[in-house]
């Protein structure tokens, strides 16, 4: 039995008395899409932040590809193939879509301590970036400044940038939030094709998407994992139903 690509053990984080992550343990096998669901304020984004290296946990370990990465910063984890997308967009607003992606390609394609040749003339960077833009459905929009893109297009660009880091494990923080119907469908199709190549941890509110895509689902409530299993198992779990009681739309989806 091979070890999981990502193994999280006993992860805890507190802000004063507020425990945002409580003793979370989680295994993600290579090639899986592991969804994490939970009500608002359950600590999903905080968990992603700790897995990606943006936040340091108080205790516990994150082991990625057999290596303890708990103390590594975000940039080092990204270089090892553990990348993330953001829920609140952090795109470089003054850069064009192409430049946003090309910069991510540049990060792993040779030294960036090059001072004279204009980066825009590096055809290899641009070609590869165009490919990722096409993958997410943004072909033809490469010249637009990121800040001027529509909300849905920003989500797509966010994905293109994440893909351009060539991740082995991709942490997706609500990638569908705020997308229109068509854009969401396009992204879901993209995740489906990616599944064969990239392992993913997905945080998402759209339950239809979650249950259509996920191999495994974990449920996070008040910083604790209350259930974990296949989509069918989780759907049938009494504790999950209790946790979601009152959130109508979700219980509909679970129903």
């Amino acid at each position: 039995m091979s070890q999981p690509l990502l193994r999280v053990e006993g992860l805890s984080k507190a802000y004063g008395a507020l425990k945002v992550t409580q003793n979370v343990s989680l295994d993600v096998d290579e090639g899986q899409l592991h969804a994490i669901i939970g009500p608002n304020g359950a600590g999903k984004t905080t968990l992603i932040a700790q897995l990606s290296g943006q936040l340091r946990p108080d205790s516990g370990t994150v082991v990625y590809a057999g290596e303890d990465v708990t103390r590594l910063d975000m940039a080092s984890r990204v270089q090892k193939g553990l990348a993330r997308s953001f829920q609140i967009t952090t795109l470089l607003a003054g850069f064009t879509a192409l430049e946003n992606v090309a910069l991510a390609v540049q990060a792993r394609a040779g030294s960036s301590f090059r001072f004279f040749r204009p980066a825009a003339t590096e055809q290899a960077l641009n070609d590869e970036a165009m490919q990722y833009l096409a993958d997410v459905g943004l072909a033809g929009r490469e010249g637009r400044v990121a800040g001027s893109l529509s909300h849905g297009e920003k989500r797509q660009l966010e994905m293109a940038v994440a893909l351009a880091t060539q991740p082995r494990l991709l942490l997706l923080d609500e990638p569908l939030a705020g997308t229109g119907h068509e854009e969401a469908a396009q992204l879901i199709a993209l995740f489906d094709t990616l599944k064969s190549r990239v392992t993913m941890v997905l945080i998402e509110h759209d339950m239809n998407a979650v249950f259509a895509l996920a191999d495994r689902v974990s449920v996070l409530v008040y910083g604790q994992i209350v259930a974990s299993g296949t989509p069918a198992e989780v759907r049938a779990d009494a504790k999950v139903r209790a946790a979601y009681l009152g959130e109508e739309e979700v219980s509909d989806a679970l129903g």
Binding site: F86, S111, F115, V161
Partner: protein, 322 residues
């Protein structure tokens, strides 16, 4: 193809116009019998070089350094110290000035860059003062009073800087070179990383960049280029004093950038020309010129964010009828 160039092109054109106008200052000044204008224009260009260097870290790197005048001082004192040792060659002096500036910038930059925001502003200010006090108490170099140079530097043995015109054109050449170098640099891979860090340090980390080495490198490059301005300032005044590196100077350099508009290089250059011109103009008018100058700064900060560039942009928008 979409890249940064189409957006920068108008600024590049404006910069070329500025260079062309500067180039004809000496003959015109001679023709109208006001050779003093050449001296003023030389000072303008010296500070334009300094402002350009600051724009790299402040405008492109979002590092608000309040101690940049220290590097002006390193450049000026390099001239004073080397000429006393019998080394008068401008190029050697520039190299030595850059080396000293780089050394100071690596150490203080590495410490300053551990901080952000108001901390960074205060720390760079304090390091600038540290350099200032070093030269103030260095009595061998005249201390507080400064020291006069025996002669201007030579270029490969030729006394090119001896005449007002020679000094002017050498300074202009350096200004063009610094501008061109920085222009290329801001478009390069390195420039993209630096600008990206300004827009979102978090995003840069999320795609695998650690901002620190890039920011520190930019900080050192800016220091070296500012030291060139210091070398020329010493040659222009034939005199070196710690006053070149006082915190008021650092403040003035920020003023130049903000007036001209940050992060466009051309704005920094225009801001420096305008600020020095304004100072010289107001100073002729009244000995209390700082009163008027200060008021202008307060008013610009309150009512015209983005300096002149911001003002022009807003006027453009109005004209565009949007």
């Amino acid at each position: 193809m979409s890249d940064l160039r189409p957006r920068l092109a108008p600024r590049l054109k404006l910069a070329l116009v500025i260079f062309a106008l500067l180039a004809v200052v000496p003959p015109i000044a001679q023709a109208i019998g006001e050779p003093f204008l050449i001296v003023v224009a030389t000072r303008m260009m010296v500070f334009a070089i300094a402002a350009l260097s600051l724009d790299l870290i402040l405008g492109y790197g979002a590092m608000v350094s309040f101690g940049h005048a220290a590097y002006l001082g390193f450049g000026a004192y390099a001239v004073a110290i080397l000429s006393r040792a019998g080394i008068n060659d401008l190029l050697l002096q520039i190299l030595a000035a850059m080396a000293a500036a780089a050394l100071f910038a690596v150490v203080t930059g590495a410490i300053s860059l551990r901080t952000r925001g108001v901390y960074f502003i205060m720390i760079t200010l304090a390091f600038g003062q540290m350099a200032f006090f070093f030269f103030v108490s260095f009595s061998a170099l005249g201390g507080d009073d400064g020291v006069a140079l025996r002669a201007r530097s030579t270029v490969l043995g030729i006394p090119l800087l001896q005449t007002t015109q020679g000094l002017f054109y050498v300074t202009l050449a350096l200004l063009v070179a610094v501008f061109a170098g920085l222009y290329r640099l801001t478009l390069s891979r390195f420039g993209r990383v630096l600008t990206g860090t300004r827009e979102s340090a978090l995003r840069m980390q999320a795609i695998g960049f650690r901002p620190f080495p890039y920011q520190l490198t930019a900080y050192v490059i800016a220091a070296c280029l500012c030291a060139i301005a210091g070398v020329m300032l010493a040659n222009q005044a034939v005199y070196v004093s710690p006053a070149y590196m006082s915190w008021h100077r650092s403040g003035e350099m920020i003023v130049m950038l903000v007036l001209g508009g940050i992060g466009s290089l051309t704005g920094a250059m225009a801001g420096a020309l305008i600020t020095v011109g304004l100072e010289e103009g107001l100073a002729r008018w009244s000995e209390h010129w700082r009163l008027g100058f200060g008021l202008i700064l307060v008013l610009v900060a309150l009512f015209s964010p983005g300096g002149l560039t911001g003002l022009l942009r807003r006027l453009n928008l109005i004209r565009g009828g949007k």
